[in-house]
């Protein structure tokens, strides 16, 4: 099974992905795609264009959370139109079927040409995996009583309340259900999105979406190099290590860890997803003295090193700088991650993308960060981290205008459907 799970976005040949989900060991589902997979594996390995790279659809956790980031993403948020629990279950089953097909690939059915095609055709007649993941998450509004789920809401799930620097546009905020679509290319993401909306017109309708991108050449160096945001700074240097299972169980997955105390049983294996659409005032930023830019972030712009240190991954060593003379107290990295024993529980898994879409009404670039992060405890995670950053110097240059809090469903095994535990727990 793991040989199918080739990730050719890695620099070095890694026959066994470090991110494969351990639940696969010893369970039958591993054999599911093995027949087809084993035969095709050689071809996949030889393929260097990434189109045959695939991520497992099944697992304890959904793919797309600790999976290494590919270059393209769409976050799309829907309002659910289904009227009752049965309709909602149908939606989840439909999503499960489509996601399983799209992420693993396969032949599209032939149809009578007198009818519209079943599919956009962007990928031709045979869908290829292209490293696609689709991660389904639910907003607080799904638990409002329409589907009989009121008592099953993850305890921290809530609508997004604006932080002081936010200007949340209602048309780009919240929603019932988010799908994070990631793959090697924008086209594959778009293909998947169009497949989903074609298959669910009676069940949900799009509320907002945002496309994101990262440089493919940097993706290949993940773990060795860090992406830059559109302000030109390295972003995510101290991210949670996605290979550390103990850390993931504490900080990222709802689990048996004390950090998850009080969560409904069905939520185990899921994670809180935060999406924020954050416009960067890039023209203004580009007119800001370098020294001030670096002071605002707390890092040297080109090397990414903490101020006063030579290398990107050097410890910012805040303890040696109690006055904030080297790295100011309101520098972004100092507020985001003070690196004290008490703030360890606030660590989040960042999985953001850059975005660029046209112009603002003032004729300035509308671009910035499609911020996405995951955590096992929304309060200890994003809410606390962002609370610390209220008033940071960077605020003059950024404007969060949308997003939402969602709960990423636990993964599913062959024969199961997404959110099955939730539906079965409902009265």
């Amino acid at each position: 099974m793991t040989t199918v799970h080739i990730n050719d976005t890695q620099d070095t040949e890694q026959p066994k992905s470090p991110h494969r989900r351990s639940w696969l060991k010893g369970i039958g589902v591993g054999a599911v795609s093995l027949g087809a997979g084993a035969l095709a594996t050689k071809a996949y390995i030889d393929s260097s264009d990434g189109t045959q790279t695939k991520q497992d659809a099944y697992g304890t956790h959904q793919a797309g959370i600790i999976t290494p980031q590919p270059a393209a993403a769409i976050i799309v948020v829907f309002d659910v139109l289904a009227k009752d629990k049965k309709g909602f279950e149908k939606l989840l089953r439909t999503l499960t079927d489509r996601i399983t097909f799209l992420t693993q690939g396969g032949q599209l059915p032939q149809i009578d040409p007198k009818f519209p095609p079943l599919n956009s055709g962007i990928m031709g007649d045979k869908v290829f995996p292209d490293n696609l993941t689709m991660t389904v998450s639910l907003g607080a509004s799904v638990f409002d009583g329409r589907f009989g789920l009121t008592d099953l809401k993850p305890q921290y799930l809530q609508d997004m309340q604006p932080f002081p620097n936010d200007a949340l546009e209602p048309e780009s905020t919240d929603g019932d259900l988010s799908i994070q679509i990631c793959s090697n290319t924008a086209e594959t993401c778009i293909h998947a999105l169009r497949d989903i909306i074609k298959n669910t017109p009676d069940l949900m309708t799009m509320r907002w979406q945002m496309n994101g991108f990262l440089p493919p050449h940097m993706i290949r160096k993940l773990g060795k190099d860090t992406m830059r945001n559109l302000l030109g700074f390295k972003d995510g240097t101290s991210n949670v290590d996605a290979k550390n299972d103990a850390l993931l169980n504490e900080l990222i997955w709802v689990s048996d860890h004390a950090n998850s105390a009080g969560e409904p049983a069905w939520a185990k294996g899921g994670s809180y997803q935060v999406v924020r659409l954050i416009r960067n005032r890039v023209e203004f930023w580009d007119r800001t003295p370098l020294q001030e830019q670096e002071t605002i972030f707390g890092r040297h712009k080109l090397s990414g090193a903490p101020l006063g240190k030579p290398n990107e991954h050097d410890d910012p060593d805040f303890a040696s700088d109690p006055d904030g003379k080297r790295i100011p107290h309101d520098a972004h990295i100092r507020l985001a991650n003070p690196r004290t024993p008490e703030t360890r529980k606030n660590l989040i898994l960042r999985r953001g993308y850059n975005y660029s879409q046209g112009l603002s009404k003032s004729g300035q670039l509308n671009m910035g960060l499609l911020f996405v992060c995951y955590q096992s405890n929304l309060l200890n995670g994003f809410l606390t981290v962002q609370g610390r950053m209220n008033g940071e110097s960077l605020e003059e240059y950024i404007k969060p205008f949308g997003g939402g809090y969602f709960f990423s469903l636990p993964g599913f095994a062959k024969g199961e459907y997404l959110g099955q535990g939730l539906i079965q727990a409902a009265v």
Binding site: R287, E292, I296, E395
Partner: protein, 390 residues
């Protein structure tokens, strides 16, 4: 719009000291001199001991030679205290929150002249620091002391504008409370203009900036949001709802917020980087929010704000004119030309004391404004660097 001094402003207010610069300086990077001081020539720096008590500096006066000096500041009281070196209203250096019985070092480069020191609380009487001429001292291209006079003049300008702002707001609020919609509409733009002229300073007080000047889109429920207050809420009532029903609490709060702002600004020491940087920040306001007509979306009085932002920016350029002239005469000339280009276009829409509705601007004029505004934003962004400010 929100200031990058939000946190600083808040923490200063809780310290019950209105000296923003005490905190504001913190946001600026360490001076290169600080970084290189210790390893380069530690022995060359004279070291001077100053004790900070609840009420004063010990000794009460100090004399040091021009150039680099290291102050060894010890807190001899039982609570956290601060230490500042000032030149008039200009804060040259500061250390805040020095813990009781702790000692901190502060290395700074001073030009010859008379300075003040404040120890303990910022309301304490000032002590004297005399810096004597020193032939060996390195001289900065533009000595920081030369910023003292323009910054003092800028503070006077801001205080005048604030005073007028309070007076006009009183009349505006009275009109609202009297239900006189026509009068309130007529006063709206000219009242706000005082705020728009001094925005880089007014924005330092982010809570007040929000309650006085935030637009509806800062709130999740937009116009219906109960947190939506201030000028734009009243603008919405006057032009969009066409009713002042329920506006008395909003109007009264506006007046008390505006008066609170006046009190805060009166006690403020003006950070040099903020003042000089303010020239560009005002233009960024125009480029990001005013060009689109989003700022005054109900009343379309954007041109008044536009003109006020420009005037506020030009004021700063004028105050620092001799220094800019010395540092980069070409840039100064170009800046003057661009201000003139903007004024020429705006003047077409001036109607006595008021301005044409922003939607009356031709597409060609809107486009024509974009070029000088963008160039001003680019050029004025260099001012701080030009004047040697971190």
């Amino acid at each position: 719009m929100v200031s990058n001094f939000k946190l600083i402003a808040a923490s200063c207010l809780t310290l019950a000291s209105f000296t923003l610069t005490a905190c504001g300086e913190k946001a600026s990077a360490p001076k290169p001199a600080d970084k290189t001081a210790a390893p380069a020539a530690p022995a060359a720096n004279p070291e001077v001991a100053v004790a900070v008590t609840d009420t004063a500096c010990e000794p009460a006066s100090l004399t040091v030679p021009a150039g680099k000096t290291t102050f060894i500041i010890s807190n001899k009281s039982s609570r956290p205290l601060e230490f500042e070196i000032l030149k008039g209203v200009l804060v040259i250096e500061e250390r805040e929150n020095i813990a009781p019985s702790f000692t901190q070092k502060l290395t700074t480069t001073l030009d010859a002249g008379d300075y003040d020191m404040i120890c303990g609380l910022l309301s304490n009487p000032r002590s004297k620091l005399t810096v004597t001429p020193n032939a060996n001292a390195q001289v900065a291209a533009i000595p920081v002391t030369q910023l003292e006079a323009p910054i003092a003049q800028y503070k006077a300008y801001v205080l005048d504008e604030t005073k007028a702002f309070v007076e006009k707001t009183e009349v505006f609020v009275a009109a609202i409370n009297a239900g006189d919609m026509n009068k309130a509409k007529a006063l709206y733009a000219s009242t706000r203009a005082h705020y728009e002229r001094i925005e880089p300073i007014a924005e330092l007080f982010s809570d007040l900036d929000g309650s006085i000047d935030a637009r509806a889109d800062a709130y999740k429920k937009v116009e219906k949001d109960p947190e939506f207050t201030g000028f734009h809420r009243l603008e919405y009532a006057l032009w969009s709802e066409k009713s002042l029903k329920g506006m008395k609490p909003i109007a009264d709060k506006l007046l008390s917020d505006v008066k609170a702002l006046q009190t805060q600004i009166a006690g403020l020491n003006f950070p040099a980087t903020k003042v000089v940087g303010g020239a560009g920040v005002l233009i960024e306001e125009v480029a990001n929010g005013k060009i689109s007509g989003e700022e005054e979306r109900y009343s379309h009085t954007d041109l008044s704000d536009f003109d006020a932002n420009m005037a506020g920016s030009k004021k700063i350029v004028d105050l620092f004119r001799p220094l800019i002239e010395k540092a980069d005469p070409v840039l100064l000339k170009k800046t003057d030309d661009n201000f003139a280009s903007v004024e020429a276009i705006l003047s077409k829409y001036k109607q006595g004391d008021t301005w044409a509705s922003y939607d009356k601007l031709t597409e060609a004029d809107r486009k024509a404004l974009a070029a000088p505004v963008t160039v001003l934003a680019e050029d004025l962004s260099k001012l701080r660097g030009l004047l040697g400010l971190n």
